[in-house]
Amino acid sequence: MNNLGFSEEQRDCLQEIINVAMGLASDKLARFLNTFVHLQVPSIALVGAMHIPEEFENRYQDAEAALVSQGFFGNEGVRGEAIVLYQMENAHKISALLGYEAGDVSEIEMLTDISSILTTTFLNGLADQIENSLSYSAPRILSSRHGNVADVLKNTSFHWEHALKVDISYQLIDHSFNCDMILLIPGEAVSNIKNILDRILEAY
């Protein structure tokens, strides 16, 4: 897999930062949901954004899937778009945990809420570690139910050069929940991130 010119140290450092961010996010989620959240070490991969549609085509082909996008931007040229992909079945599980009752809110609101919570808790944890802070745009649904996931991803990832794929699996006491998160980042942001990683590596 193409590592977009990240050195092995930089990649390890990024994985570590993501592990910690995910840990912080699951800790917050656990307290918010009042349940134990077990988290698997997320696997990450850096790829060219144009390869993203084919990566997810198979996994989200048949089932009802939802895609929610949220833009983020911070200091030092860190910016991009986070996309959360999940099966609707999974979305219903977590919506029950969040305390939504059927008919309480629209499905779209439920989807944007879940995605926003997952995205912002995770990215805030990431930003904390690199001494940055992020602002977010409102989440918007790219597709839900019968949209063609690959086509929607093609239209979105087209605007970006690179993508950081993060496979997220949460295990809650009675439920398991997994989704994929894609962080789409522009070319210049990659070199900004490399600089940040180098600074962290130097500090050790």
Binding site: K28, L29, R31, F32, G99, D104, V105, S106, I108, E109, T112, D113, S116, I117, T120, T121, N124, Y136, A138, P139, R140
Partner: protein
């Protein structure tokens, strides 16, 4: 400080609402936008509960959102597309908009405060009434477009494409639920003569008049469509051959008795009608049902017009050339 000197006027001039509350939902700040639209003064409402000052708020829902902002230290959002407004405020397009209240995009942000200070939440309210109005126009246009896409331009009954789609669906339904289903195809007798005598405008007038008249004779569930030229079809769900034949007879007689006035001339027309019933066997497609009704229609033509003929299973004796 320069920053403070500038910030207050900017907040006051901002064309968005800013409300700051603490973790007990008490109002700590609101800007001029909210003061003016909400017709209230910061000095009067400071320290009061948000839910008392804005009595119409969806309290349980909003509290859950605000709770997530505090617990997760991350923003929450609400879009006018899901919830048209949270705060009941008037907007600046009272005449051109059909909505009474300002459509809003709201963002709820955790505000960074010092360790021992009370946590604060900033609620940003953006006026999305323009987007709401455009969306409404768009929805209306889409509904009209969809209607136009289904309608025959001249007679306003279903056009052939949509009508055939309906027929396919009804056949599917009849097959699945073992319901009966019948089809009537009918044709105006000697339409060419009508056109020759009264001109094409007269011919068109007859088509429009009869389509509307026949439509008024049908049940809500019957589906009338223009199959082409002077040929029309009626789909009759939950109706067997006998019932459909009765409907056809009734229409045939009523049309024969119906006189239309065009340019001070009375026009009369008659119909030839073919009736067929759906056979619940496999591989019986909508084409087959149309073919059966068509055979019956041509039998009606062949045997003298202004009459109804029913398709009998196994029938093949018909003459395409009759008209």
């Amino acid at each position: 400080m320069f920053q403070e000197m500038v910030c207050n006027p900017v907040l006051a001039a901002l064309n968005s609402g800013v409300i700051v509350i603490d973790d007990e939902y008490n109002i700590r700040y609101l800007n001029a936008f909210i003061e003016r639209h909400g017709n209230l003064q910061l000095s009067e409402v400071a320290g009061k509960s948000l839910f008392n000052v804005f009595a119409d708020l969806p309290e349980a829902w909003l509290k859950r959102k605000l709770m997530s902002v505090l617990d997760l230290n991350s923003p929450a959002f609400s879009s006018w597309e899901q919830r048209q407004y949270i705060f009941k405020l008037p907007h600046l397009r009272p005449i051109t908009s059909s909505s009474q209240y300002m459509a809003q995009n709201c963002t709820m942000l955790p505000l960074a405060t010092a360790q021992h200070e009370q946590p604060l939440i900033c609620i940003l309210i953006e006026d999305a009434t323009d987007a709401f109005v455009y969306q409404q126009h768009l929805s209306r246009t889409l509904i009209e477009l969809e209607k136009a896409n289904r309608q025959d331009g001249l007679t306003k009954v279903q056009n052939r494409r949509y009508w055939e789609e309906q027929l396919k669906q009804e056949i599917h339904r009849a097959q699945r639920y073992q319901h009966s289903l019948s089809l009537i195809l009918f044709d105006l007798d000697k339409f060419k003569d009508l056109n020759d005598k009264y001109g094409h405008l007269g011919g068109d007038f007859v088509l429009v008049e009869l389509a509307s008249f026949i439509g008024s004779l049908l049940r809500d569930s019957d589906l009338l469509g223009r199959y082409g030229g002077e040929e029309f079809g009626i789909i009759l769900p939950d109706t067997g051959l006998e019932g459909a034949a009765e409907v056809a007879e009734r229409i045939c007689r009523a049309v024969a008795d119906y006189s239309m006035l065009f340019n001070q001339q009375t026009i009369r027309a008659t119909l030839s009608m073919g009736v067929a019933e759906f056979e619940p066997k496999q591989h019986f497609l909508h084409d087959d049902l149309i073919r059966c009704a068509d055979m019956a229609l041509y039998n009606a033509k062949r045997t003298g017009r202004n009459r109804v003929c029913c398709y009998q299973a196994g029938e093949t004796d018909y003459h395409k050339k009759a008209n």
